[in-house]
Symmetry: C2
Subunit: 430 residues, 2 copies
């Protein structure tokens, strides 16, 4: 039976919107947004798209008109009633009313601010400027739109049957990953793959596959819309943009040196328990931990997001021990470039020594490597970062110089202030 | 959009019929049926289901009521107008009007005769008795029904998501087989998998996958309904039942020894070109070829359906050479228990020496090995054979004693008459 109505309906869409909800974003964005909305509502920031994979000619692959349509569509979105109800009424990390009424009132009225798009050679310059709490919400949807438009550009040339086989193969691959992960005793794993997902529908499927196969070992998803629709835990705490912007605003070196701790002191006031996760690598993990105040050692855990993950976790363990804490009570969340081999390895090395957890991103939601001609669906490293605050450039050092960003002289200054020495460069795959 | 009408419609089916058309059968059945209808319209035969895989308790797995419903449904079928048009108007093997008007008139009026079903232990005894041209048409649908009912019994316990993953994995496996076959230069391959298919829809998908990936290397399908619906060549010539029934009717040893050649003499009158394919193994390939009349060496090719396929093909090559024929002009069709490894091996060994072709059956249309718990979807060896003609038992020797059938004393007599010595037993996988 041909469902004529559906068919006609599907063909009357002006566009097929990629992002259809303001909560189709990472949970930590909303948490951070609430903090920023309270503490820095008027700070003027600039976010910028950065394609680390310069060999991918994004502007050749993705039509500018389509990109504008998708971004314009996101600017028409506002928080839906059911979404607001979910944010106000749901329990996050065991806590009710995580989102305060004054934040929710602001968020319910919000529309995303304008974007600036320009083609430069075979790449796009895409920037967002304005008040920090508004602009920061562009990061995830902008990345999701570009990544999915690139997928669509490749898929457009494929026949119906090829598409069926493509997704069958991708499903098989993901299922086999889940089978392997299932064998890991005590595994805790969450989906962190919104920003670089193959598509929204695929992320949604990937999350369901994890729920089906991993059961309780799958603790939730960073994607709020999927968490809401599928009745899962929304997962996430905080990210580099908090220390980066705060550091950029610091008037002198002494304030700069304090900035990453000031940020976490605010977070300490706001949040407790499993939301107290240190992200130590913004300006180098080692210096950050060496100089950290003792109250930070009381936090629940640490997220290892760059550099050698084994070194990062060992550093954290030694640090906790040096501060009289028992690492067995502490959580280490690995979230950098994970795939099954690496998850197995890290799980094997650190289970029992700390509470291990994984934030699995791109290779959960976008592992289409080898599935299209010329590997045209392979994921690539696209980010959207705060590059300036009140006209001052931001800096990120990270534990991998390949992920560092900022003007050269500022990078040097930060390295001096934070005591960062030699670093080992590691390939950034995704 | 929920298509309420479709949903309601799907739930109002009394059963979900497995065989919905009299041409959902192998092409060679229709060709042979026409010959039998002309030459032996009143010969009384018995066909019987034989589960060679006695470890599969078919009667435990498949509900008797459901089996009866499916078989009863088949008895309600008659040739549809479009099906008749296709048979009458289509070109088969380059020839128009392959099916004669008097046969079509009979076939258009046909309903399949009654069946006899009894449960014996954990197996079914399923037999069909009556005029040969009617009874013979039960073989393929009976096998398809039992095989698919067994699939359904396993699938019934699976959740929607598991089913999605199951088929994704099966599709991926089949696609990877097609990828490998695609690399074989000059490959010629047809679907012979109707009788032991996982399901009708899956066979249909498998055929489409071959069309998509193999292009002209995929020469067609033995399934008439799929050939019609997908505009493909219907493939097939003749099978063991012709010599088996004819031999059973032979009044003495001399007539018995002549029977397999008499059958082919009739076929010679009826058909030419690529339909002149010898199936030599019914009573042992070697004796059959040694004693064959010269005109048979003029036939287009040979089908190797049991025993060591390399020996079978080498035997044919030597035979053609001994009769002054050039093997390079001859076709060898391999059709016994094939999968990709074996196809690659035989293609590599015989390409260039003969015109190689493959009739790929069960592991094309039912390779679900390892995809369900307890391997409950693995294919198994189920056949439906002519066991008696005019009250006399039939015999098949084959080139593999594991495939032999018939009463012991008759088997001995046939071995003596056809000069069959020692045979090597080979495992019958599918």
């Amino acid at each position: 039976m041909v469902d004529i109505a559906s068919r006609v309906y599907n063909h009357t869409w002006k566009i097929d919107p990629i992002v259809r909800s303001l909560i189709d974003t990472d949970f930590y964005k909303l948490l951070m947004c609430q903090s920023v909305h309270k503490g820095h509502p008027d700070t003027h920031v600039t976010f910028q798209l950065i394609n680390r994979a310069t060999h991918i000619p994004l502007a050749e692959l993705v039509d500018e008109g389509e990109l504008r349509e998708q971004l314009d569509h996101i600017r028409t979105l506002s928080l839906a009633r059911g979404e607001s109800t979910w944010m106000r009424g749901n329990t996050f990390y065991g806590q009710r009313q995580m989102f305060r009424p004054e934040f929710m009132e602001w968020f319910e009225k919000l529309r995303l601010p304008p974007y600036h798009l320009e083609r430069v050679g075979d790449q796009y310059e895409l920037t967002f400027e304005g008040p920090w709490p508004e602009v920061m919400l562009w990061e995830i949807p902008a990345l999701a739109v570009l990544t999915e438009l690139r997928s669509r550009a490749v898929l457009r040339d494929m026949k119906r049957f090829e598409l069926e086989v493509l997704y069958a193969r991708a499903m098989t691959r993901l299922w086999e990953k889940a089978e392997r992960l299932r064998a890991l005793p005590g595994l805790k794993l969450a989906d962190f793959g919104t920003r670089r997902r193959h598509s929204f529908l695929w992320q949604d499927w990937a999350v369901q596959a994890m729920v089906e196969r991993l059961g309780d070992a799958f603790v939730g998803t960073s994607n709020c819309l999927i968490a809401k629709n599928r009745d899962l835990e929304a997962i996430g705490t905080n990210a580099h943009e908090l220390p980066m912007v705060t550091a950029a605003l610091a008037p002198d070196d002494a304030a700069l040196a304090r900035a990453p701790y000031d940020v976490l002191a605010d977070w300490h006031e706001e949040h407790s328990g499993n939301l107290r996760i240190i992200l130590p690598d913004t300006f180098g993990t080692k210096g950050f931990l060496d100089n950290a105040p003792d109250w930070l050692a009381g936090w629940t855990g640490i997220r290892v997001d760059s550099g050698d993950p084994v070194e990062g976790a060992e550093l954290a363990i030694r640090w906790w021990e040096s501060r009289g804490e028992n690492p067995r009570d502490k959580m280490v969340i690995f979230s950098d470039g994970l795939d099954v081999d690496e998850i197995e390895r890290l799980h094997g090395m650190f289970s029992g020594r700390v509470r291990v957890s994984f934030g699995w991103g791109t290779l959960l939601t976008n592992d289409f490597r080898g599935l299209a001609p010329d590997d045209a669906l392979a994921p690539f490293s696209l980010v959207c970062k705060a590059v300036a605050a009140e006209g001052r450039p931001t800096v990120k050092l990270s534990d991998n110089p390949a992920k560092a960003m900022g003007p050269v002289d500022e990078v040097e200054r930060y390295k001096r202030v934070f005591g960062v020495g030699e670093q080992v460069e590691r390939e950034v795959v995704v």
